[in-house]
């Protein structure tokens, strides 16, 4: 009971250490989702609308990568960014930048795979009308992404959920450095192992609250969009 009260006090008093961790977590996860969306949505659209040799294999690979183990992604990014790795000169290892890269790698397949399915379904509906209106390839992609935007929100939410809850990859490439690369999930893992349960529970409360609020906002945006656009 005392632990819960202490956790609540940390949250309600906006404890500076807690706030810093929350801010960094949001910066990393939201940046990763934005980057993954920029890559994943067009990638999904291209796979949905084009026919090429190996397309089925690409779809299977994309779907499989949705379950990519975070520690494997973290290890791959660690090796690439380490001093002797191909991208070692960037000096990103154990920085928030490395964490964003790792999370982007984890989230992109989710957004791309879900976008592909969404856009392909809409494409099946629109195909004849596009042909009748003589819409070019770029126009088709832009129209499908725009008209599917409220459905694509679900893909972005799935990506954000993955990023926000992820700990394995960012602890490898970020190092969980206090005040620099410590996020909510890595801090919860660390503080729990140290027995500092109030901070761990407080961060857990905040994490759950953030996920609920973002989902609620996205849901509201989707419903409003459906009312306006059908």
């Amino acid at each position: 009971m005392d632990t819960d009260v202490s956790a609540l006090h940390l949250v309600l008093s906006a404890d500076p250490a807690l706030v810093a961790i929350v801010r960094l977590s949001l910066e990393v996860s939201l940046s990763a989702v934005v980057l993954a969306a920029v890559i994943g949505v067009p990638l999904g659209a291209v796979i949905a609308l084009t026919r090429f040799y190996g397309r089925e294999a690409a779809i299977v690979a994309l779907n499989a990568l949705m379950g990519l183990p975070p520690v494997v992604a973290g290890l791959a990014v660690f090796l690439a960014l380490s001093h002797s790795g191909p991208l070692g000169k960037w000096g990103l290892l154990f920085t928030p930048g490395a964490m964003i890269i790792a999370q982007t790698i984890l989230v992109t397949p989710i957004i791309a795979a879900l976008s592909r399915q969404t856009i392909e379904d809409l494409w099946a509906e629109y195909r004849d009308e596009f042909a009748a209106m003589n819409v070019g390839a770029l126009g088709r992609v832009a129209t499908l992404i725009w008209d599917a935007r409220f459905s694509l929100v679900t893909a972005l939410l799935a990506g954000f959920g993955r990023a926000a809850a992820e700990v394995g990859a960012i602890i490898i490439v970020g190092g969980n450095i206090d005040g620099f690369t410590r996020t909510m999930t890595t801090a919860i893992a660390l503080e729990t192992s140290k027995g500092n349960l109030p901070l761990a529970i407080g961060l857990g409360m905040v994490l759950i609250a953030i996920v609920i609020v973002i989902n609620a906002l996205a849901w509201s945006a989707r419903r409003a969009g459906e009312r306006l656009a059908g």
């Binding site: 809409l122 509906e125 629109y126 004849d128 009308e129 042909a131 009748a132 209106m133 003589n134 819409v135 126009g139 129209t143 008209d147 599917a148 459906e226 009312r227 306006l228 656009a229 059908g230």
Partner: protein, 240 residues
């Protein structure tokens, strides 16, 4: 009346469409010229939809030739088609028409004026902001018609434009078709409804099992059908 355009006549010369070993249209020789609406009739599977799609330029023939104004390379900028089950874009009524105007290359500065005219023509004024997918079936058909007309077509293809509509909605569509035809747009449409064919057609084309059975002026066709199939079809007997 509109000046003659490069789209007409649309000429089918021994045209065939096959998918694998299945022949959908066979040995079609037909000339569609300017004037009163041409109506394609025939039972299900006769090839009416495929013939419309070929004439629109959406489906290529596998044998024979199709030409528009004597050429086979005319871009379909002055042709428009409304499908039997038109798909509404996930936009408002106005958004659907704006999209059609944009893809037709209409100057942006004219969009609002053109949209107002089209909505008035199809009787949807006041529904600009309603999501298109929430319109009734008849309203969606009329919006699809407005979207097709946004292309300022010389030839308008309509595939069963009143299928599954009630009599009031059917009349609304037929009135629009008559209005459009009176403006000089060549209307080519398919229908199951012989009564509708009598009301609208200037020329009739009867199709059965992918072949053209008979074609000619509507009055002559209904008064003096030349073939047994045409007599049966007009009499309401089943063509199998």
């Amino acid at each position: 009346m509109r000046a003659p355009v490069a789209e007409l006549p649309i000429t089918f010369d021994k045209a065939q469409v096959a998918v694998g070993k299945i022949i959908i249209l066979d040995d079609i020789s037909l000339k569609i010229s300017s004037g009163a609406p041409t109506v394609l009739i025939g039972p299900n599977g006769a090839g009416k939809t495929t013939l419309l799609r070929v004439a629109m330029g959406l489906v290529r023939v596998t044998q024979g030739h199709v030409t528009w104004g004597g050429r086979d390379d005319v871009a379909p900028t002055r042709r428009a088609i409304m499908f039997q089950r038109p798909v509404m874009l996930r936009r408002s009524t106005a958004g659907n028409i704006r999209y059609a105007l944009k893809t037709a290359g209409a100057p942006r500065s004219n969009w609002e004026r053109q949209m107002a005219g089209l909505l008035e023509l199809v009787g949807l004024t006041g529904l600009e902001r309603r999501p298109a997918r929430r319109l009734s079936g008849g309203e969606q058909q009329r919006l699809a018609l407005a979207r097709a007309l946004a292309r300022d077509p010389a030839v308008l293809f309509l595939d069963e434009p009143t299928a599954s509509l009630d009599p009031a909605a059917t009349k609304a569509i037929e009135d629009i078709i008559a209005n459009v035809a009176a403006r000089g747009v060549k209307v080519v449409m398919s229908t199951h409804d012989l009564g509708q064919a009598r009301r609208i057609a200037g020329e009739i084309v009867l199709l059965h099992r992918g072949r053209m059975i008979e074609s000619g002026a509507a009055d002559t066709f209904f008064a003096n059908p030349k073939t047994e199939e045409a007599r049966k079809f007009i009499a309401g007997q089943l063509l199998v």
